[in-house]
Amino acid sequence: MPWDRTVLVGLQPRGAKLLKALVAQLEAEFATGPVANGLLDITFYRDDFRRREEPLAASPTEMNVLIEGKRVIIIDDVLYTGRSVRAALDALGDFGRPERVELCVLIDRRFSRELPIQPDYSGRRVDALNHERVRLNWSGSTLESVLLESPEYAPER
């Protein structure tokens, strides 16, 4: 599908940097022309509201694009349980009906999914256990490193 029918939607807060970097690279190196994009905050659509200790902080949603009838690519940094993406699909529905929705993530933690959601595009597959954390270090809009933090494994008593 041509780029003028495509919208990249970054998930707040951590998909925002990847979105920016992708848009810049597409426009500069792939001559796509201006790439329509927006930022989506999914706080109010999460399914763990009132089930967490601390309520999550919300970030601004900046969807100044029409997604009706277009190809939407959801952009996020790490795909883990899939629940954020589920919430994002709900949230997207409030802005229109895209022709199709795809998922692009930098890191796919493929063994930790809680929902049947898979990425269409992913940078790296990381095989991490549930107690481990995957951390991305950005310097400006450049990804410096991906760290797999593995605390001493302490089984729940």
Partner: protein
């Protein structure tokens, strides 16, 4: 991004005892919800497993609609109750009415009553989160929050700003909540109005009393103009409406004489030609309709933040 998105207060009964951080948090989240209510589809599913009861023992159009809209835009289930169509008429006590409603498993209660302290009374007795939607002449916290939000939207940070509350201070719960809330945000608050409608002890709250409306308007960044509450006046507090309007009514003539015109707010409903002329109410100086719009966003923030404090029942 705030690290702590959690309210310290379990209920919103008034702004007197709410910490400043809670007020800031509500105003910040109201900004997020304002964005939501300007979307093509103005509804988010956050409160879909909750039930909210709106108990209005006193008449209200704007506040009740605003709360109801806020609840529906958060996808809560809503039950409405108004005293004129209920068993209160048959002599049921407040405690009984409320226990009956709670027996129906309600998570949040929004209550308006003509007696001061009713929201506190409930908060001590029922397990739900209570939101005071106006108790007598005591407090009306969500109105003060939406006033502050509207001021912030127009003026930026409120720290060091000057706000004058004009008119019937004595009967006004909006005035009291404004004073408590704004002072916590670092605002200098003054009042002006007929001396019969200014409570004698108001200066104890650190509020300046300015006698002349013109001086007050010259001093202030914001004039929050209150409604003359005829229904609460059991005797004559001023000789006539005409005289009130002449001394304390805001007219274009008055505003045109000022070096800088303050932002004009009014909690509604307006008595056109009494507190404000139509010309002023419909001018760009007035943010009255912004207040109404912001009211829904602020109430969404209050309900959302209160609801987020308790885990769902019967979930192990």
């Amino acid at each position: 991004m705030p690290q702590n998105a959690k309210l310290q207060s379990r209920h919103l009964l008034g702004l007197q005892h709410v910490p400043a951080e809670d007020i800031q948090l509500i105003l910040q989240w109201a900004g997020h919800f304002k964005e939501v209510i300007n979307r093509p589809i103005k509804r988010v599913p956050s409160l879909r497993d909750l039930t909210v009861a709106n108990l209005f023992f006193e008449n209200s159009t704007r506040t009740r609609l605003s709360f109801e809209l806020a609840e529906k835009r958060l996808s809560a289930d809503v039950v409405n109750f108004s005293a004129s169509t209920s068993s209160v008429k048959k002599g049921e006590t407040l405690n009984d009415t409320v226990s009956n409603i709670l027996a129906m498993k309600v998570d949040l209660v929004v209550i308006r009553h003509s007696e001061a302290g009713v929201a506190h009374f409930l908060a001590d007795r029922v397990p739900a989160h209570i939101v005071n939607a106006g108790d007598g002449t005591h407090e009306h916290p969500t109105q003060a929050l939406l006033d502050a939000f509207t001021m912030q939207e127009r003026l930026g940070s409120l720290e060091g700003k000057k706000v004058v509350i004009v008119g019937d201070i004595l009967h006004s719960r909006v005035a009291l909540s404004n004073i408590f809330g704004l002072q916590k945000l670092g605002v200098h608050v003054a009042v002006t109005g007929p001396s019969t409608l200014i409570p004698r002890a108001i200066s104890e709250l650190g509020v300046e009393v300015i006698d002349s409306l013109d001086d007050a308007l010259e001093w202030a960044d914001v004039a929050n103009v209150l409604r003359v509450q005829h229904e609460r006046m059991d005797r004559a507090f001023f000789p006539s409406i005409r005289e009130y309007h002449k001394r304390y009514g805001i007219t274009m003539d008055r505003l045109n004489r000022l070096k800088q015109v303050p932002l004009i707010l009014h909690p509604g409903p307006i008595n056109r030609g009494v507190e404000l002329t139509s010309e002023v109410a419909d001018s760009p100086y007035a943010a009255i309709l912004n207040q109404v719009e912001n009211g829904v966003a602020v109430r969404m923030a209050v309900l959302y933040l209160l609801a987020s404090q308790s885990a769902p029942q019967n979930v192990v």
